[in-house]
């Protein structure tokens, strides 16, 4: 099994989620994060004090998936989330040693 972490632009979330549903991905976990990268942040000015944090709001999606489905998920996210502008984000894939569904105690692919 794989554990996929995707960092995307916030307004792309709905689109990505729908695309993944189409692929049969039943679940995912989403959180708000701040991204630091090549994309330049906006400058904020408060009474003359300028802050350019370069920390931009992003959304992180975490998906546990079977080894089969994982590559398709990565590809689909890459295609859907891309705007071809800097700051579109990244997809990271890690190996997942085990997965458990809390409700039933099921483990492995069936737990996803």
């Amino acid at each position: 099994m794989k554990f996929i972490i995707a960092i995307i632009k916030p307004f792309k979330l709905d689109e990505v989620r729908e695309a993944l549903s189409g692929l049969g991905v039943a679940g995912m976990t989403v959180s708000e994060v701040k991204g630091f990268g090549r994309q330049k942040g906006q400058t904020e000015i408060y009474r003359g004090a300028e802050y350019t944090t370069n920390m931009l709001p992003k959304v992180k999606i975490e998906i546990a998936a079977s080894d089969d489905l994982a590559p398709q998920i990565v590809e689909l996210i890459q295609q859907t989330a891309s705007t071809e502008a800097i700051g579109d984000g990244k997809i990271f894939v890690l190996d997942l040693a085990s997965a458990t569904r809390i409700r039933t105690g099921e483990t492995g692919d069936t737990a996803l």
């Binding site: 307004f11 709905d14 906006q42 400058t43 904020e44 000015i45 408060y46």
Partner: protein, 473 residues
């Protein structure tokens, strides 16, 4: 602020008498000089007008700003607050520059003159007429009370195209729209020579005032006027990116609730203050405002209970605002019980507009300026014809072309003919303000451009237009 009103039990003499028995014995003075007017001022009235002005300012900032701001997404929160704050400031300066003169001096029936430009001749020693013979208030208190109306009205329409307009063109539009739509309509509906002067100067009035239109505190002048501007604006500017696809839940209904509450609280200055005197009729306007609002909040919650099974805070707040809008033109004219009926009716109609009609015609009136202010204002303006009927406990109107003014005889009041007058006032306001708005925005769009770039709209107006974030928790 309407042509035909008077306080107290039975007419001009007594209304005055309530203020000071000393006057009751004194002979009435037609067309008093300024020196005479100075002796016809009551400090209770002056206090009431100053307090009412404070309350109306509080309606716009922070009231309206929060009511609207809570409903947009976080990334556009400050843009809404800033738009309201700056419109209020600019419209205020404009009022002193030439707005007051254009709205409240004689001239033509359609627009005032330039006699009071830069507040020429408006001092601590000049006085404004009220709706009672021989009762005056300091002109500056009238000036500033009316100013707060001119400040909030253009702030109302921004809700219709919130989250997608550039700041600078909006400010330019505010100046132009105030000049071409607000001042003329205010003049047409509210300008008249005053109760001690009209007998001697028949015809010195605004066009709709002369027709007999009733608008106690601004149903046509404020709400329909701004509401139709909002609708036209959101059509010209177009829907937000992702409209109907992305979900755009209100970022803070808490702010919206605070805003709605402060609108309610401040609206007593708006409505009861429009009586210009602190007497029994001010209390009527106050009570009518309270009851219509309660009724409309309840009826909006009930219709949600029926349709969605869940009465919502946003619904209750929307209902309250709809009730406040509807009672505005009728506030000093209706009776408490008919005000309740007006409140009960307005919410279902507005609910129908913001849900069914809006989703049917797919215009993106972001914060329902049309559905609540314009529709609610129309219901109020037309309903005024009914609730003002003395036979239903209403206050009727006064004939100020005789001196002292006389109240309409209950049997002489005709709902249907008043209704036609009201319809005309509504129609003229819709047409005039709609056309002015459409033309102005079209021109501004071609010249300055109204809409920010897609990227800016996506990232939010706060950071891009104002260089700030609303929250940095």
């Amino acid at each position: 602020m309407i042509r035909k009103m008077i306080g107290g039990v039975a007419g001009a003499g007594l209304a005055l008498g309530a203020a000071s028995t000393a006057f009751a014995q004194a002979a009435m003075v037609q067309a008093p000089t300024v020196e005479q007017q100075a002796t016809m001022v009551n400090k209770g009235d002056t206090t009431w007008m100053l307090v009412s002005s404070v309350l109306v300012l509080m309606m716009s900032i922070p009231g309206l700003a929060l009511f609207y701001g809570g409903l947009v997404r976080t990334k556009n929160m400050l843009s809404v607050l800033m738009q309201v704050f700056m419109i209020v400031s600019i419209a205020g300066l404009l009022w002193a520059t030439y707005g007051y003169s254009l709205a409240f001096t004689g001239g033509s029936p359609f627009i005032g003159g330039f006699g009071k430009v830069l507040m020429a001749g408006v001092t601590s020693g000049t006085y404004a007429a009220t709706f009672s013979n021989n009762v005056y208030i300091p002109e500056l208190s009238y000036f500033v009370f009316q100013m707060t109306f001119a400040m909030i009205t253009p702030a109302l329409f921004i809700g219709a195209f919130a989250e997608r307009i550039k700041f600078t063109p909006l400010m330019v539009f505010t100046v132009l729209w105030s000049t071409l739509a607000y001042y003329p309509i205010a003049h047409m509906v509210w300008y008249w020579a005053g109760p001690d002067f009209l007998a001697g100067q028949p015809g010195d009035w605004g066009y709709l005032y002369g027709k007999g239109a009733l608008d106690f505190a601004g149903g046509t002048v404020v709400h329909i006027n701004a509401g139709i501007a909002g609708l036209v604006g959101c059509l010209v500017i177009g829907p937000r990116l992702g409209f109907g696809k992305e979900s755009t839940p209100p970022h803070s209904l808490v702010m919206t609730m605070i805003g709605a509450s402060l609108l309610w609280v401040g609206w007593f200055g708006f409505n009861a203050g429009s009586n210009l005197e602190s007497n029994g009729v001010a209390a009527v306007a106050f009570v009518n405002t309270m009851l219509a609002t309660c009724a409309a909040a309840v009826s909006w919650a009930m219709i949600e209970q029926i349709v969605h099974k869940k009465p919502s805070m946003l619904g209750a707040a929307s209902g309250a605002v709809a009730g406040l809008v509807a009672i505005t033109p009728a506030s000093g004219l209706g009776a408490p019980m008919t005000s309740i009926v007006l409140g009960l009716i307005v919410s279902p109609v507005c609910f129908f507009f913001v849900t069914t009609v809006k989703s049917k015609f797919k215009y993106d009136d972001t914060l329902d300026v049309f559905g609540i202010h314009c529709v609610g204002g129309i219901i109020g303006a037309l309903g005024t014809a009914i609730v003002a009927d003395p036979k239903l406990g209403g206050q009727g109107y006064f004939d100020y072309t005789v001196f002292p003014a006389v109240a309409v005889a209950p049997e002489a009041y005709s709902i249907s003919s008043q209704f036609m007058v009201q319809l005309q006032a509504v129609g003229i306001t819709l047409l005039w303000s709609g056309i002015v708005t459409g033309v102005l925005l079209f021109v501004l769009d071609k010249t300055m451009g109204l809409r920010p770039s897609e990227e800016v709209e996506r990232e939010g107006l706060d950071i891009n237009e104002h260089g700030e974030r609303a929250y940095n928790y």
